[in-house]
Subunit: 405 residues, 2 copies
């Protein structure tokens, strides 16, 4: 893409009313725009990152056996009354439509997915079923000051699994942990499997937490096992649940995913049972598995930045290469165009800063935007038949012959 065609611009000013590192940098670089507290527009560069994260998640959910669907945000009151949550979820946005019909904006989708799967999977032959969606959720958060980490509208991948037995749920639940670790690894986020409070049916739920001083959560880490315990249950769970180690270290962190065994909590509410091999009615047990792509995006920015801007990990960067042509000399523009086309032909995603601005401004913008690899074409390098290549997270740059690009 030609940067001269991009309608967004960078800004040197930290946006007012924005205390979070992630939103400040993303807004300054023109990745997102804040419409109102906790509500952001994704601009072309930001949308590219968000879609890359969504696609990583999608690939791993398909690999796990999930079937993608798309549920609505507008959900009728009846479904929430059935499970008793209409008055229990305090962050739920409620609204009224034609004929005084009441709705909630989906803050989670158990109330939609359970009666949906119930329509199709009624026999042991139909189970297990795992369905997921990547869709916007709405939560009426009292405070929304953490940028993409806590939005009032935000993207979510929510997978729901349905099983004929606790053992089958357990098996799938363990497999999902592996999938989650793969996703975070691909997003360059180190994560700790963190034991958190369960519910009526389960002792624990599990969170995936990544360490950062900017995090809102507190976890107690077992360095040996690479697992952790959330502060909320540290009174009852004082030692590592895996090895019994009592020397847990308190750290600040961001929750980047959570998984939960719901057992028959929601299936019971909807009277959802299945017929087993002997023709008997049996309870269907359920698990739910969440990751917020926009929260992942915000977390990556919180962790991967320096004094000059963002430093995107390769797999989620808006482009692979930031190509900078310095000066308006025709020869430089022609050579840069050749390189631009050559890289694109090889499937490399290139943002070419072809704007008529100073070299200093190009470097500053490039530092802020944070594309991992930067290729600079200037009079000096051209005379040597080379370009300057620099990784965004390294101090040094190298001259590389153009033919070896």
């Amino acid at each position: 893409m030609l940067q001269s065609k991009l309608f967004t611009k960078t800004s040197k000013q930290t946006p007012k009313d924005e205390t979070s590192v992630n939103a400040s940098l993303l807004m300054r670089a023109g990745f997102v725009d804040k419409l109102t507290a906790g509500v952001y527009t994704y601009l072309p560069l930001g949308l590219r990152v968000l879609n890359k994260i969504k696609n990583i998640i999608r690939e791993e959910m398909n690999e796990l056996g999930g079937q993608e669907i798309l549920m609505p945000a507008l959900t009728p009151k009846e479904n929430w009354v059935t499970t008793g949550r209409w008055d229990k979820i305090d962050v739920m946005f409620k609204l009224e439509g034609a004929g005084s019909k009441e709705y909630a904006l989906g803050s989670t989708h158990e109330e939609v997915v359970t009666p949906l799967v119930q329509k199709f999977a009624s026999s042991y032959k139909d189970l297990p079923v795992a369905v997921y969606q990547i869709q916007d959720k709405f939560r009426n958060e009292p405070r929304a000051k953490a940028g993409l980490l806590r939005g009032r509208e935000f993207s979510m991948k929510d997978l729901y699994s349905f099983h004929g037995s606790d053992e089958d749920l357990d098996r799938f639940y363990e497999k999902s942990i592996d999938s989650y670790f793969k996703i975070f690894k691909r997003c360059s986020l180190e994560s700790y499997l963190t034991f958190a409070s369960g519910g009526v049916f389960s002792k624990y739920s599990h969170e995936f937490q990544t360490l950062t001083e900017n995090g809102e959560d507190h976890i107690f880490v077992c360095e040996k096992c690479k697992v952790a315990v959330n502060k909320e249950i540290i009174e009852e769970q004082k030692e590592c649940p895996k090895c019994g180690n009592k020397d847990l270290v308190e750290k600040k962190s961001i929750e980047i995913g959570n998984i939960f065994k719901l057992k028959s909590k929601f299936t019971d509410a909807f009277g959802y049972k299945y017929t087993d091999e002997e023709g008997k009615q049996q309870p269907v047990v359920m698990g739910c598995y969440g990751i917020g792509p926009s929260r992942i995006m915000g977390t990556i920015v919180e962790i991967y930045n320096d004094e000059n801007g963002m430093v995107w990990p390769k797999e989620v960067a808006p482009f692979d290469v930031h190509l900078l042509s310095l000066g308006e000399d025709e020869k430089i523009l022609k050579e840069t165009e050749k390189i631009y086309k050559k890289l694109q032909a090889e499937g490399v995603e290139v943002l070419w800063d072809d704007r008529n601005i100073t070299a200093g401004n190009k470097f500053a913008d490039s530092d802020l935007i944070g594309i991992p690899k930067r290729v600079v074409v200037s009079k000096k390098t051209l005379e040597a038949g080379s370009v300057e290549v620099k990784m965004r997270n390294e101090k040094e740059s190298n001259l590389i012959e153009i033919k070896n690009l």
Copy 2:
């Protein structure tokens, strides 16, 4: 994909409370599920179709020069008050959040996109700008009985263009008409450019209408020019706006897109002007361009169906090939698997009905689902070293040698 793994099932029964052909067929075939009036879940087969339509639109909007962004559905009251539309859009869902903050669910996005582009494009050098999104819209429709044709939550592509002069807007507007025709052609929908009422600033807006007896709209068609006049303006526009022909023929139709010159209606409201080459402040003029992917999907079903089910046009079909293996004979399953893998390796999208059910049920489901090409492997065809290939919209089938597949 293996059909045995698909969690949805077909149904022989027409769903109750569903009068539209599109929703009946889509629900019976397991493409969508109705959550409540005007609100649908897209199931795996339906989501594939919806995404193909979205991608066709995305490709053509990129080709037109549009930059993709993603705006929120949750929009603050202030923006609507600024343009005077807070109390004027009667289908707007309104809601209240923390701190008594009032929001509208976006039924359209001029109120978000105008101040957004205003932040970045302030000079003649920055114009024109064209941005678009593909996102869910919400409309509190009093009646929602037309399936995907009139939803309370539905997908929309909305592009907005910003220009420094009326002439530049006119040029872009004409180009957008070509893009729209390309989109509809790729979706196998014949469309008429239809003159409809303009607004304060423009004599006409334009709709794209496709003819069908199931349509809610009435248009008057000039067969010579392939343009039409919407019934709503036939009193003032009695002849073809292109050739003056007075023999216009009344037809029923579905509106599948509309484009509108907004001129400075919204930019004025937000005080959005640009600086021209002489340093003077000038009005920014705007156009908007809408297509609903879910409405396109519903329209295609209304037009492409027969007594046995849906007949998807190639480019939007959930799969390219429906592969049916008849019987549980091990040799048949093995040969079918080979064919399945061979087709997949060639990039063909295949749904293999590997279920242990009767041939009659497989054919009935295949007719209902409507994948354009059907390949049948049976004992009879295998003995001849061939498979039976049938196009969904043709009566006859052919035997084709497996090696020529």
